[in-house]
């Protein structure tokens, strides 16, 4: 059925294009009408941001080199660099039960099923269906989605499941005695081989331990702006892209 869907998705492309017209027009309208002062302020802010990021990058390069050296010392494989491609969200699933996006990159651009998708702040989801021009992304909060994570503070492993709510993930089967606190950052663990490790997934917002229950109830808020991102990034990990 997959090749049929790939062909049929060509039918869908013009529909999504038309539906997207209003939001494109609004953003174009805003671009045209923004005053000189706003543009200058924007420019200044971006310059400052770029300066800060560049400064951080210097440190990062140094750290990266050090990391490679240490890994060599430990005889472990060097981490591969991920490359990303920017994609634009052209549609969201019309059924609020399904947390899905349609992005404007398809098999023509090298997208593949299972490809991780991130935004500027964290992990967003994965591609579940690739058309020629567009593909469909399943968000990490969809009730059918789960991914392996680890707590960045202490390396504790867990599974983060979507709940069907756009701002909530739950960690399943976390023992009641586990060291996990509100505010802990969850990052993708890379186990399972689908998502590359180290991308921020969520922040723990609630840990409730009921002595009568075998597991703690842990909730987290996704780091990625699942319902706001207009531009997302498709991640190409070097070892995965031939799939």
């Amino acid at each position: 059925m997959a090749p049929v869907r790939t062909q049929l998705s060509l039918v869908a492309a013009p529909f999504y294009w038309v539906v997207d017209v209003p939001s494109r027009m609004v953003s174009e309208f805003n671009d045209t009408l923004s005053s000189r002062r706003e543009l200058m302020a924007d420019n200044e802010r971006l310059r400052a941001e770029s300066l800060i990021l560049n400064a951080k990058l210097q440190k990062y390069i140094e750290l990266r080199a050090e990391n490679v050296r240490l890994r060599e010392l430990m005889n472990s494989a060097e981490r591969l660099n991920d490359t990303v491609v920017v994609a634009e969200v052209v549609a969201v699933a019309s059924d609020p039960n399904r947390h899905q996006l349609v992005v404007d990159k398809g098999s023509r651009d090298g997208a593949f099923v299972g490809q991780p998708v991130i935004d500027a702040t964290g992990l967003l989801g994965q591609i579940i269906e690739v058309g020629i021009l567009q593909s469909r992304v399943l968000l990490i909060t969809d009730s059918a989605h789960a991914l392996p994570v680890r707590v960045s503070r202490n390396g504790l492993r867990a599974i983060a499941e979507g709940t069907g709510l756009i701002d909530e993930l739950t960690l399943t089967h976390v023992a009641a005695t586990t060291d996990i606190q509100v505010g802990d950052l969850l990052v993708s663990s890379g186990l399972g081989g689908r998502f590359p490790g180290g991308y921020p997934v969520g922040e723990v917002t609630d840990v409730s331990i009921d002595p009568g229950q075998p597991f703690a109830e842990v909730r987290a808020r996704p780091m990625a702006q699942l319902d706001r991102s207009r531009n997302v990034l498709l991640v190409f990990s070097e070892q995965k892209s031939e799939e």
């Binding site: 059925m1 049929v4 869907r5 049929l8 998705s9 039918v11 869908a12 529909f15 999504y16 038309v18 539906v19 939001s23 549609a91 969201v92 699933a93 019309s94 059924d95 609020p96 039960n97 399904r98 899905q100 349609v102 269906e129 469909r136 009730s143 059918a144 069907g164 319902d227």
Partner: protein, 161 residues
């Protein structure tokens, strides 16, 4: 009479518009209340032009909707084709109904559509059924009260028959 079709392009335009409305983004909780535009538009033409719009056109709209929504292929196609059949066997009676009675009947059709959707999705393991998915029964019924006169006006204006 049969062969002198006129203005059928408007049927196509209205169905495409309904498909577009059914995938246009709605913010947050409003998405739960989205009326079933495709069902309403189809029912209008099934009642108005039963010799032109039938099970096949409904099936075609359904399969397009399946592709647009990224759901199991055939889920909407099946539901809409069955609905079209139900109307085809009873359109002479349905036309005699008052607007409100028709709206009530369409609410029932929408319930059928929702149940088929939920059934297919749950088999597929996609979504848990939440009672909010039944809100379109009300909104679709209410919208019929406004949509039927509107499309009827356009039908007269473009002389669609």
């Amino acid at each position: 009479m049969e062969s002198h079709a006129h203005g059928l392009w408007f049927v196509v335009v209205s169905l495409v518009a309904a498909l577009l409305l059914s995938i246009s983004p709605l913010s947050g909780d409003w998405a739960w209340a989205r009326p079933d535009f495709v069902l309403l538009t189809l029912v209008y033409w099934l009642l108005a032009l039963p010799e032109r719009v039938g099970v096949f056109v409904s099936w075609l709209c359904g399969i397009t909707l399946d592709i647009l929504q990224g759901v199991v292929l055939g889920q909407n196609a099946f539901a809409l084709a069955v609905i079209a059949y139900m109307i085809q066997v009873s359109y002479q009676r349905l036309r005699m109904f008052s607007l409100r009675k028709q709206a009530a009947f369409i609410s029932l059709l929408e319930l059928f559509h929702i149940l088929v959707d939920q059934w297919a999705q749950n088999i597929n393991g996609v979504a848990q059924t939440h009672w909010l998915v039944f809100i379109p029964i009300v909104t679709t019924g209410i919208l019929w009260l406004f949509l039927r006169p509107t499309i009827a006006w356009f039908q007269r204006m473009f002389a669609v028959y």
